[in-house]
């Protein structure tokens, strides 16, 4: 598979009254055609800033200090505003978290969906109306002909998110960035929207960057997962590698702090709070919360260690000189569970 997007050593800071906040501190990744990459992390970890920088939608006080965002052979960091306008909404589109605020309350649905069609594809009224109807059918909105004349307040939260998705898909974008698209929705509605997104991805073959803090959602949608902490990717791999063979203690903590159907004993909680990025720690940013931290973690930030062709983690525990440690019970259970499931699948004839 070819790469549609390559982000190289991205560094972004924000000027604030208190000083410079180092929000993104050297993020590199690539996105393949047709895949879903999930970026997981807590509030303030930099996952939304990363995605907004791809669209160049950062606020006034943001500085891209270093790095490249290569899309279709072009570095978006250097692109002019005019060039970006030709990309935004057409080749890279975005779905936001809150469908209540990302639609214009004073415009009909039809007008909002046809906006990118008229702007980017120079469609006339009849063409855009036809396409709008198509899109609303695609996202499963009932009675599209009647409803496209209505305003956002006449729709439920789930329906509004379907409309937002229709707008994002209007120009068949190469990349769709979904920033917590289901966080504001109820579980049954969330399930419907996730099903819709997967179905549409197959139909129009778009790549998705899916930003979320919900590991259940990640397990559902992602092909690959990047775990973000304090402005860096700390672990990256296929969804199976990250969930069943996690290597970074922060990933361990995240997985162990979510109850599964099997959890009966006490829930693991990562102690402490994330670091202040006004003054990022010298070594590994997770060290103060990490029970497996070694002396070197406070002195030198770990590089990305390679575990497999697709699996990387930034922890000194993977260094050849690191002592052997005993991962938490919950993580060992995950690895065993996977071995069992994997073995079972082979016996079934291995249809994968």
């Amino acid at each position: 598979m070819s790469n549609i997007l390559e982000v190289k050593d991205l560094n972004i800071s924000f000027d604030t009254y208190a000083g410079k906040v180092q929000a993104i501190r050297g993020v590199s990744f690539d996105l393949k055609k047709g895949e879903t990459l999930a970026i997981v992390g807590e509030s303030g970890s930099g996952k939304s800033v990363t995605s907004r920088s791809i669209m160049r939608l950062l606020s006034q006080n943001a500085n891209i200090e270093k790095g490249q965002i290569v899309f279709d052979g072009k570095d978006l960091v250097q692109a002019s505003e005019k060039e970006m306008q030709a990309i935004r909404g057409k080749r890279i589109a975005m779905i936001f978290q809150d469908p209540m605020t990302s639609l214009n309350p004073t415009m009909t649905i039809e007008k909002q969906i046809s906006e990118p069609l008229k702007l980017h594809q120079k469609m006339n009224r009849a063409q855009s109306r036809k396409r709008t109807l198509q899109l609303l059918e695609l996202v499963g909105l009932p009675e599209p002909e009647k409803r496209m004349k209505q305003y956002p307040h006449q729709f439920s939260g789930g329906q509004r998110q379907r409309i937002v998705i229709a707008i994002a898909l209007a120009c068949n974008p190469d990349i769709l960035i979904a920033d917590e698209p289901t966080t504001a929705l109820d579980v049954t509605i969330q399930a419907q929207i996730l099903e819709l997104m997967k179905e549409l991805q197959e139909k129009i073959d778009t790549s998705i960057i899916f930003i979320t803090h919900d590991l259940g959602v990640v397990a559902n949608v992602a092909d690959r997962v990047a775990v973000m902490y304090a402005g860096k990717f700390v672990e990256m791999g296929t969804v199976d590698e990250v969930f069943y063979n996690p290597q970074h203690p922060y990933t361990w903590g995240l997985l162990a702090s979510m109850p599964t159907l099997e959890t009966a004993t006490s829930l693991y909680a990562i102690p402490g709070t994330p670091p202040d990025l006004l003054d990022p720690p010298k070594g590994d940013a997770f060290a103060p919360r990490n029970e497996y931290a070694m002396k070197i973690d406070t002195e030198l930030a770990p590089p990305m260690f390679k575990i497999s062709k697709s699996h990387y983690a930034a922890t000194w525990l993977l260094h050849e000189d690191a002592p052997a440690i005993d991962p938490p019970q919950e993580i060992k259970a995950r690895q065993q569970l996977y071995m069992k499931k994997f073995a079972g699948r082979h016996n079934d004839g291995g249809e994968q």
Partner: protein, 316 residues
């Protein structure tokens, strides 16, 4: 615990309508009945609009119910009229709110926020006693007593929720209504707060009504769970049974929609949609299928549900 069950709260046929009688009448809670036993955590789950928060608010007497009765420690909550009795009720029952940003007064110092209840109920004889008590509470919820002179904006979401918990505990309540206390927090912080609540329950001898929409967390924290939809309680059972032996179609649908952090499970998970039944003449009500496991159903459903439950039991 099983045989020493003492009811601390009884909700009987509670109805909470908004704009009753008018065109836009909303039946937020429509005739629900359940008990909560002393020392347990009762989880109330449902989607937005199911009436779960309204139920919590009616119980703590933030609303006057349209019909029905709420008994707390043998007293009818909505018939308390003397100021002294109401004060006592407010002391025994406290609330923890969802949004730790909106539920703390930004103009008050943490010390005064936590001590407000102590002052109202006159629980401290001197300023020193008051301050000592605040320090003790801050330590209890895992905060530094030195932080008492700070304002809420100086704290993170998780820390604010701890302040909210300390405030609730200040008057030594017996019963706490926790309305989505962790929904606004990050995953790693959620686990911290949930563990804190469970520790406090043991050390402070508390009973919890835990209202939430996150089913996996509710299962983990609750002894028993009630599932609500459209103002009705559709299923009520021990937490394990609601999860592993769901009987009502709505519960099954809700469980099938929850994504779990397990890619292999996610690949095979099939969601079942919930289609509400068309009402007929037969009345529906909460009926006990096996001891402790209640389902909202018709009399003619009971045999089928008993078989369904037995099939689960035999599978184990």
């Amino acid at each position: 615990m099983e045989n020493a069950k003492e009811k601390i709260l009884e909700v009987k046929n509670l109805k909470q309508y908004f704009n009753p009688g008018s065109k836009n009448e909303v039946r937020a809670v429509d005739g629900i009945t359940f008990d909560i036993f002393r020392g347990e955590t009762f989880g109330l789950v449902g989607e937005s609009g199911s009436g779960k928060s309204t139920t919590g608010r009616s119980i703590i007497r933030l609303y006057e119910p349209t019909d029905g009765e709420i008994d707390f420690q043998g007293t009818k909550v909505h018939e308390i009229s003397k100021k002294k009795d109401l004060l006592k009720f407010r002391r025994d029952m406290q609330m923890i709110f969802q949004d730790p940003y909106a539920s703390l007064n930004p103009k008050m110092k943490v010390r005064d926020i936590i001590a407000e209840g102590i002052d109202i109920h006159g629980l401290a004889d001197s300023k020193k006693e008051r301050n000592d008590r605040v320090d003790e509470l801050l330590k209890l919820v895992g905060l530094n007593p030195d932080h008492a002179s700070r304002y809420p904006h100086e704290f993170s979401g998780g820390q604010r929720q701890r302040i909210g918990i300390a405030r609730a505990l200040a008057v030594k309540p017996k019963f706490i209504v926790a309305d989505e206390p962790i929904s606004a927090l990050d995953v790693s912080i959620q686990a911290q707060v949930v563990n804190l609540l469970m520790e406090l329950q043991k050390s402070q001898d508390l009973t919890f009504l835990f209202i939430a929409h996150d089913l996996s967390m509710v299962k983990y924290i609750s002894d028993r769970i009630g599932v609500m939809n459209s103002g009705k309680l559709l299923e009520l059972a021990p937490a394990e049974d609601v999860y592993n032996k769901p009987l009502h179609a709505y519960t099954e649908s809700l469980l099938s929609a929850v994504p779990l952090p397990d890619p292999d499970y996610e690949r095979s998970r099939k969601r079942t949609a919930y289609v509400p039944r068309v009402p007929n003449n037969e009345p529906e009500e909460l009926r006990e299928i096996v001891p402790g496991h209640y389902v909202y159903c018709r009399e003619s459903d009971v045999d089928r549900l008993k078989k369904k439950r037995a099939a689960y039991d035999n599978k184990k």
